[in-house]
């Protein structure tokens, strides 16, 4: 609003986007909390499949997929096979949702006063745990394969422009640009603050942390891949020994390749009849997932194989919880601060009440994610609520500051704050590079969304190729909601601009009418 009243919609849009994001982000925190609470037992509940009714075997769904997947999809989410099938509210998730909102309320209850103290813990603890995991991960067997896989560039993949688009959007969201969180936090700084140093520090620390975390994660993933590869080999060796009645342990893992080659040359039909799995380490390395799959399935399974599994699980999920909590601080700040600035509540109302009401409203709205189909809805929110809107808002912010407010005035303000004018690099990027990049990403994103019909991967035990997830298209009403989510916050920009335009026109008309009226009355006091 201070730059131009017509761009007030950007702030309102940021408020709406932050609200939507905090809804689903806290649901992810709920899942992490659920896993954290379940990590305090030995053996871990996702280590073994439950037994079926006869107690002669394992539950079929678990046997077909894996114990970890079963725990995630069935015992945590109790997921339905289709998004239109909502199912019932999962009470254990609802309870954890209440707990995570309560923890969040505790930390933001007085705004920056309490958040500032909580963030000492929530920001430093993850680094400590990451270091522990890094040391532990590097000493595990198979870690080097994981690291080699991380750092070897694959030229085929890099040639795909979709990869670069994903990288650009990822760094955009990782820096939490256009959420309003940075602006909200920065408003608590003294006016003469070296914001240039802060900006560079944020970008550098963010990238370094990503690199650090990826080294820790990939060393553990390499361990998991090596473990799976070894077990695959063991299964094949057992089959060979069983079939040919060889003495036990006559084939070691290293000898396996030679023995198999010998068998293939001497008796190929028998070797083929055994249905041996092909065990390649690269296949297991490539199986790593992203997002919720990485944390709750892949990493949970990797933690199972480490000695002292419950301790590692507690550390890992505790780290995820504190990481998510500190992100939520930013989100809630960008929701609450605009509400405070807009003066939504009357003056006498204490801040605790406002934050409590905000948390309550968010909690009640987020209960839709605790339904059985909640995970599918979360994916929708994740893909559509934030992405397009944030790029648009960032574009408007850059253009608004540089072109509407004026580059010269902005540079003067910065010189006043930091003591020197921003250099050529900043000016060029603000004026040309950033708006261009943002526009390109926006157009590419829209074209990508428009070209492929949106679909989702459902967990359907009745599917023929179970445990692969079944690809299903979204029904019509869900697609409408996706479009609404993508464009509603962005519509606030033209909406507010229109409102401002109308208001100004009306005020001009009123002024003109007043001028036409008796003019001589303004004699004395102005």
């Amino acid at each position: 609003m201070a730059i131009s009243p017509y761009l007030g919609g950007v702030g309102l849009g940021c408020l709406i986007v932050s609200f939507l994001v905090s809804l689903y982000y806290n649901t992810i925190l709920t899942w992490v909390l659920w896993y954290l609470l379940n990590s305090f037992q030995h053996p871990l509940p996702w280590s073994a499949c439950p037994l079926d009714l006869n107690r002669t075997g394992l539950v079929e769904e678990c046997w077909d997929s894996s114990a970890v997947s079963y725990f995630w999809y069935r015992q945590t989410l109790n997921i339905t096979a289709d998004i239109s099938d909502s199912g019932s509210v999962q009470w254990q998730l609802l309870v954890c949702l209440a707990a995570s909102w309560a923890v969040l309320y505790l930390c933001v209850i007085r705004g920056i006063e309490t958040t500032g103290k909580a963030i000492y813990f929530t920001a430093l603890f993850p680094y400590l745990v990451l270091t522990i995991f890094l040391i532990r991960g590097l000493t595990l067997p198979g870690a080097t394969e994981g690291l080699v896989y991380l750092f070897t560039p694959d030229m085929q993949v890099l040639r795909n422009p979709r990869v670069w688009l994903d990288a650009a959007t990822q760094i955009f969201f990782s820096l939490s640009l256009a959420f309003g969180g940075h602006i909200a936090f920065a408003s608590y700084n003294p006016p003469r603050n070296n914001c240039e140093r802060d900006a560079v520090a944020i970008a550098l620390v963010n990238s370094m942390t990503s690199l650090y975390a990826s080294i820790a994660v990939f060393s553990v993933l390499g361990f998991k891949a090596a473990n799976d590869h070894g077990r695959c080999l063991d299964g094949n060796i057992l089959r060979l020994i069983n079939a040919f009645d060889l003495p036990d342990q006559s084939i070691s893992r290293d000898d396996y390749a030679a023995v198999l080659a010998r068998l293939n040359t001497s008796r190929p039909e028998w070797a083929a009849g055994l249905h041996l799995d092909t065990c390649r380490l690269e296949d297991f390395l490539e199986k790593s997932a992203a997002g919720t799959g990485l944390a709750f399935i892949v990493f949970a399974e990797a933690v199972l194989h480490m000695p002292g599994a419950p301790g590692w699980a507690v550390l890992f999920f505790g780290m995820l919880f504190t990481l998510g909590l500190s992100s939520m601080f930013g989100n809630m700040e960008s929701v609450i601060t605009p509400l405070l600035d807009l003066g939504v509540m009357p003056r006498g109302v204490p801040k605790e009440l406002l934050t409590g009401l905000a948390c309550l409203v968010c909690f009640v709205s987020a209960t839709c994610f605790t339904l059985q189909s909640g995970s599918y809805w979360l994916e929708i929110f994740d893909h559509y609520a934030a992405s397009l809107n944030l790029i648009l808002f960032a574009f408007f912010e850059v253009v608004g500051v540089i072109y509407v407010y004026g580059m010269k005035r902005f540079c003067d303000d910065i010189a006043w704050m930091t003591g020197r004018r921003p250099g050529l690099y900043w000016q060029v990027t603000w004026k040309v590079v950033s708006p261009l990049l943002l526009l390109t990403i926006f157009v590419a994103y829209i074209s990508l969304l428009a070209s492929t019909p949106p679909s989702y991967k459902a967990w359907n035990p009745q599917y023929e190729q179970f445990p692969s997830r079944q690809e299903k298209p979204y029904p019509g009403w869900v697609q409408a909601i996706c479009v609404l989510l993508s464009f509603l916050p962005a519509l606030s920009v033209p909406a507010v601009a229109l409102v401002q335009l109308l208001a100004r026109r009306r005020r001009k008309q009123q002024d003109v009418q007043q001028d036409v009226g008796p003019k001589l009355q303004d004699g004395g006091v102005c």
Partner: protein, 275 residues
């Protein structure tokens, strides 16, 4: 030479029961209707690679021909002299006639627990086709030694006493496999209250208590602030009175009661250049 393997039998270690054919002196009896060639009890000992407990893992190839010789005696087993490959962690499990005797005794014991079969003796249990991998077929004959007992009966008897048979050999369900006898899996230990609820209760209570404390302290601060300004207002009034009395000059610039136009907060129309 390697015997031809059968295709799918070992993908999922299934357990098959086979009866040995009846051993009659000098004659091979054709399979009776109660049991066929496919019903043969196969006992096999197998150990996963790298297990702590010794014993070799040997599995007899399914489809191996059941004992067909008519001799009443069993084929003796050679003692197993396999080199361990994993180092001193593993011990060899020497399989000799004494172990065979123990096995026969365990099977006889299991059969004696069945209501009608209390008179089963060790001599009624017959082993055949013992291989170096410690896998063999066995049958249990009835007291008259004329025919063998049906597989189902022996299956259920062994199933009831599986734990004792395992313990007799210091093995477990994985290292001592009876084909076609599914093992009753141990139920997972279920604590009366799920552990996560306990931890959740602890955390939630802490959070609620801390929130209450913060809210209460906030209310206290608010009340203190409310009492503070009212005291301040009294002194300010006194100040104004004294000033007006003393100086006679009204404190116009500091007039709190009236509203004044502050230049810093002009309306935006006049402050900003129109677009």
């Amino acid at each position: 030479m390697l015997a031809p393997p059968l295709a799918s039998a070992w993908a999922h270690p299934s357990l098959e029961l086979h009866h040995c054919r009846a051993l009659k002196s000098g004659k091979v009896t054709p399979p009776r209707s109660r049991f066929t060639v496919t019903h043969q009890i196969l006992w096999r000992s197998s150990v996963p690679i790298g297990a702590r407990k010794k014993t070799r893992a040997h599995v007899i190839a399914p489809g191996k021909s059941p004992c067909s010789d008519s001799a009443a005696t069993m084929r003796q087993n050679n003692s197993i002299t396999q080199e361990t490959q994993e180092g001193p962690r593993l011990r060899k499990y020497a399989w000799d006639t004494n172990e065979e005797y123990l096995f026969k005794a365990m099977v006889a014991f299991s059969m004696r627990k069945v209501p009608n079969r209390e008179t089963t003796e060790i001599s009624h249990v017959l082993l055949c086709n013992v291989t170096q991998r410690v896998s063999f077929w066995f049958v249990v004959t009835d007291p008259s030694k004329t025919h063998t007992l049906p597989a189902v009966e022996i299956q259920s008897a062994i199933r009831m006493n599986r734990n004792r048979i395992n313990n007799a050999f210091f093995l477990n369900d994985q290292t001592l496999e009876f084909l076609r006898i599914p093992s009753t899996l141990a139920p997972p230990t279920d604590p009366p209250v799920p552990i996560w609820i306990i931890i959740f209760g602890v955390i939630f209570c802490i959070v609620i208590v801390a929130t209450m404390l913060l809210i209460l302290s906030g209310i206290q601060q608010h009340r203190r602030k409310n009492e503070g300004p009212s005291e301040m207002e009294d002194t300010e009034d006194k100040c104004e009175n004294t000033i007006t009395v003393e100086n006679g000059i009204p404190c116009d610039p500091l007039d709190m009661k009236g509203g004044h136009i502050n230049d810093a907060f002009m309306t935006e129309d006049e402050r900003l250049t129109p677009l």
